[in-house]
Symmetry: D2
Subunit: 144 residues, 4 copies
Amino acid sequence: MHPFELPIRVIYADTDAMGIVYHANYIKWFETGRTELMRSLGISWSEMEPLQCYFPVSKLSCHYLLPARYDDLLILKTHVDKLKRASISFSYSLYDEGKERVLVRGSTLHACTDEKGRIIRIPEVIHSRIKEKHGEGENAWHEG
Amino acid sequence: MHPFELPIRVIYADTDAMGIVYHANYIKWFETGRTELMRSLGISWSEMEPLQCYFPVSKLSCHYLLPARYDDLLILKTHVDKLKRASISFSYSLYDEGKERVLVRGSTLHACTDEKGRIIRIPEVIHSRIKEKHGEGENAWHEG
Amino acid sequence: MHPFELPIRVIYADTDAMGIVYHANYIKWFETGRTELMRSLGISWSEMEPLQCYFPVSKLSCHYLLPARYDDLLILKTHVDKLKRASISFSYSLYDEGKERVLVRGSTLHACTDEKGRIIRIPEVIHSRIKEKHGEGENAWHEG
Amino acid sequence: MHPFELPIRVIYADTDAMGIVYHANYIKWFETGRTELMRSLGISWSEMEPLQCYFPVSKLSCHYLLPARYDDLLILKTHVDKLKRASISFSYSLYDEGKERVLVRGSTLHACTDEKGRIIRIPEVIHSRIKEKHGEGENAWHEG
């Protein structure tokens, strides 16, 4: 129910000549956020690989509210937004170190696919583990 | 009125272990798309720098319809979606080489800011050049 | 015999908060340089894929002499440095727009491998095409 | 004297369509390695910023021995290789999770510069802190 929290330290590689984090670089952090959230539920790649299931990004949105800068320590909160039979969506809120201000909000929608990219049902063992902890999402978690 | 077209060749750096272009890497191509569209209107960085105006990304959305793969030749069409006093939005459609299928659609919203990140009006010389060619956007261009 | 020339426009994605191109981002341009050099010899991925041969980077070196900056137009010259039975090396010189100053020099060594990463001989059809145009490298080309 | 150890989890963003980590992506990890080593000595950006000193990369070399793959947990060991009056070099060894095999070795040389990129002496407060812990490098640490 609680969002998964991940600390992130901004390095030069993440920034651009405007002196702020380049907008596309937040998107990689979202990947780490959802992967570690899943791992915290016992769903890591070593579980998914034999099931031949993948979760490519189908939709992405991002709202940049305040800039992050070089060497900032940030906190990324990730939570399951909505769990369906063949898809899952995540929401992301990136905070400053003190968790007082949201810098960036984002969301991603993922279809579950087989190795050839065909949409399949989320394998039961994965679906149930997410549902157990996060419910079906939507109303399961609120920023407040 | 016509969208700006940019050819893109996919390199290994753009792809991931799923064998497809990593979702965040399309976002960089959008930057090149809008920058070259602007340059085609006579608005390059050498024009903007003395005006001290910047167009950081405020919102981003992306819809991934079909995967692009290593060594694919792609065509990115960029157009001005909406021109306002202090903001501009762009739309992007990424096609396969034959321009028969849309692989990815995206859009970005940009506030116009000064060097310190404060929102300012788009300088008249820039605003008028975009308006002249693209109108105020919205109904100015249709994919059809 | 002549190096392959590639124009590169620096975008924000390439730069960092020091206001210059981030050192690791030149490395991607090297990939484009050697891929397009090979394509100019008639060796593209569509040729290599049925032969199941790959050229992963085995060694890399880079010397940063002068910084490149946002919106700079750069010229990357790539040439075959040395062609062996199971490996090939390339050299890279990145120039400013006027080709007066070298900003970055680099080199990469590539083993030829099969799909499983085992070192194999470079397929004859590829080896001969490179040799025909570039010799065995080394003394075949000089910056002067 | 001991190298600084940093755990790294490989995400899709780091990999390419060969199914391995893309060679340029290791270079960003080196940045994190040396930044965190410096932070462990009490030298963080908040110390360096008022001193107006920067350490841009002047030379880089990298030797790729074995591939890293998606979701691998890696250990990066970073150490000060050589400390001079106006430059510092670092060495990097990237290990597998069990620290049994070296996957990648690298090194970077950094000039110390002022805000305009002119080479300056490393400020005494920084130089002495590195020297105290790491000596002048070179013979201070051995992989064994």
